[in-house]
């Protein structure tokens, strides 16, 4: 009797998780598994049959001269450039804004927090069109302002056309859009540092800079690692900024652009899936390496 009611209880409990489990199965787990299967097939959207080709798609990505090879490595280069240019700023500027907020009089804190966080409410497409308009060669805010103060008045800077300007533009747009989020994570971390640590340091006569280096940073180290890894993943997945802002061609043709072009323009879903899986694996490996290096015990 008791095993019977226990069995019944488990059944009614399971009903609570069943709807989500089905959604998870249909829209998360099956697509992930299916993604690996497709990557082993020659899957052109226009073909009626999709033969199994083993590692064929992966091989052609690493074979010089194929279109997949071009798109993947041009994309990898552009994506890695963006990660290297953006991530240090996303972490350091985010922390800087948090420190600045905490140094303000309490009454002003929530006001400025709102101001810096507002761009987070803007969609990726709006963010991109706003900043395209900011950096436009003619009629863009920045070049007009520069001309007004007499800088590059007759030879406007090609912000969205050429390296290195285009990277500057993409990083600035990204910082504006997402720095508020990192800032709030850092503010929370800073508020968790025990006050008595600072008091003791003050008595010892440590300067503000010394307190930052020897107390604040070590205390919030796990949060710095968290922001570093999440920012790296976000930057690795960059798409809207180069796709909608940049006119710099291959220089800013990031991985997601290459993958989506392979899937929706060339209609080669198999190759695109193989590229997506390689992209996914590299970002997972990169995250693990970052985590191991930053968590190393001295």
């Amino acid at each position: 009797m008791s095993t019977m009611s226990n069995w019944k209880s488990k059944l009614t409990s399971s009903l609570f998780i069943l709807p989500y489990f089905l959604a998870f199965l249909a829209f998360t787990l099956i697509p992930i598994v299916y993604g690996f299967i497709i990557s082993f097939k020659q899957y052109n959207l226009l073909d009626p049959v999709h033969p199994f080709v083993g590692l064929g798609n992966y091989k052609s990505i690493f074979t010089e001269g194929t279109q997949e090879n071009d798109l993947f490595f041009i994309g990898m280069k552009a994506t890695l450039k963006f990660v290297v240019f953006s991530v240090p700023f996303l972490v350091i500027v985010g922390l800087g804004f948090a420190l600045l907020l905490n140094a303000l009089p309490a009454k002003l804190r929530s006001f400025f927090r709102s101001i810096y966080f507002i761009p987070y409410a803007v969609s990726a497409t709006v963010m991109a069109v706003i900043w395209k308009r900011m950096f436009d060669v003619t009629g863009g805010f920045i070049n007009l302002l520069l001309a007004k103060v007499g800088i590059h008045e007759f030879d406007p800077i090609p912000w969205l056309l050429d390296s290195p300007f285009v990277w500057f533009a993409l990083v600035v747009a990204t910082l504006w859009w997402t720095i508020g989020f990192n800032m709030i994570i850092f503010v929370n971390a800073l508020n968790g540092v025990p006050e008595d640590l600072y008091e003791a340091a003050k008595i010892d006569g440590a300067s503000g800079w010394n307190r930052l280096i020897s107390i604040t940073l070590p205390s919030i180290r796990p949060v710095i690692v968290f922001v570093l890894i999440t920012s790296t993943i976000a930057s690795y997945n960059i798409f809207a900024q180069p796709n909608l802002m940049s006119n710099a061609g291959d220089e800013t043709k990031v991985l997601l652009m290459g993958i989506l072009q392979t899937a929706y323009t060339a209609r080669e879903i198999g190759s695109a899936s193989a590229m997506a899986i390689l992209m996914g694996l590299t970002i997972m490996i990169a995250s693990i390496i970052q985590f191991m290096i930053t968590n190393r015990k001295e």
Binding site: K10, I17, A23, I118, A124, T125, W131, L260, A276
Partner: protein
């Protein structure tokens, strides 16, 4: 006030102005005439104020921008997806945190593990699945995929686990069944975390770009966010005033929700487990 404080306030104010400027520029450009918007002269505010850009967008005769339909689509998809996520995620998190279910550890590991898998891996197969069921260009493809995400469950579990078991047991002794415990004991105590998840989900869905852009090609089925991308690379490529007017229109809803829910939002980031 100490002089160092004054310097910090000044610095914060300058940065604040820099942060507001791009949105101000969008706003001001949307009220400029076609001529002024392209003119190589710096005017922070329009010299000649015009509603023309908004009128063109709202004008029913212009088939290019079915703006009311886009607004409806964005809100409908945003609310439907948020409702679905809240319903499924709260029930699942309750079961995982407080009930005795088979394979609990396996399921939990599976859900958390899925958070580590980059979205691009499931993007194309997800598209194919919907395409095979002929659901491209429908509301289903715009709404359903969000319900399979594990982030909400993860967020809620942490909160539900800290809910005292004694209160649940007391309610059970009083004769409440599991469903009653869920709806009249647990949920009323979780309003803040559920609101947080609602704001997060709504903004995420409303502002999503890549998925709605590639799964919907029918102009009438576009969302505002995807619509901005369509117009930016299409009819409005050279009409900056109109593009900025459209961008302004599509930003106002989330901006309002964001400003109202901001406090909740900030607290929620604390609650997502980013602790020391």
């Amino acid at each position: 006030m100490k002089s160092s404080k004054i310097i910090y306030v000044l610095l914060a104010a300058v940065l604040g102005i820099i942060f507001i400027l791009p949105m101000l520029w969008m706003f001001s450009n949307s009220f400029k005439t076609d001529v002024e918007v392209m003119a190589p002269e710096f005017h922070l505010f329009p010299k000649e104020f015009t509603w023309e850009n908004f009128q063109t967008i709202f004008d029913g005769g212009n088939v290019d921008v079915p703006i009311f339909r886009w607004i409806f689509n964005s809100f409908f998809v945003g609310f439907a997806a948020t409702f679905l996520v809240l319903l499924l995620d709260t029930m699942a998190a309750y079961a995982l945190a407080k009930l005795d279910i088979p394979f609990k550890k396996t399921l939990f590991a599976l859900f958390i593990g899925s958070l580590m898998v980059p979205g691009i891996i499931s993007f194309l197969p997800q598209y194919l699945n919907f395409s095979n069921f002929n659901l491209i260009n429908t509301y289903y493809v715009l709404i359903l995929p969000y319900s399979g995400g594990a982030l909400g469950v993860f967020l809620l579990i942490q909160f539900f686990q800290s809910f005292p078991n004694e209160i649940i047991e007391a309610a059970r002794i009083d004769g409440a069944n599991k469903w009653h415990v869920f709806t009249s004991v647990l949920l009323p105590s979780s309003v803040s975390i559920v609101t947080t998840l609602a704001i997060f989900t709504f903004m995420n869905v409303f502002n999503d770009y890549v998925w709605p852009f590639f799964t919907v090609t029918d102009l009438e089925m576009r969302t505002l966010t995807a619509g901005v991308a369509v117009m930016a690379t299409g009819s409005f490529t050279a009409s900056y005033g109109k593009l900025m007017a459209l961008a302004t229109l599509s930003t106002i809803p989330t901006l309002i929700i964001f400003l109202i829910g901001q406090k909740q939002f900030v607290q929620s980031i604390t609650a997502t487990g980013v602790k020391q």
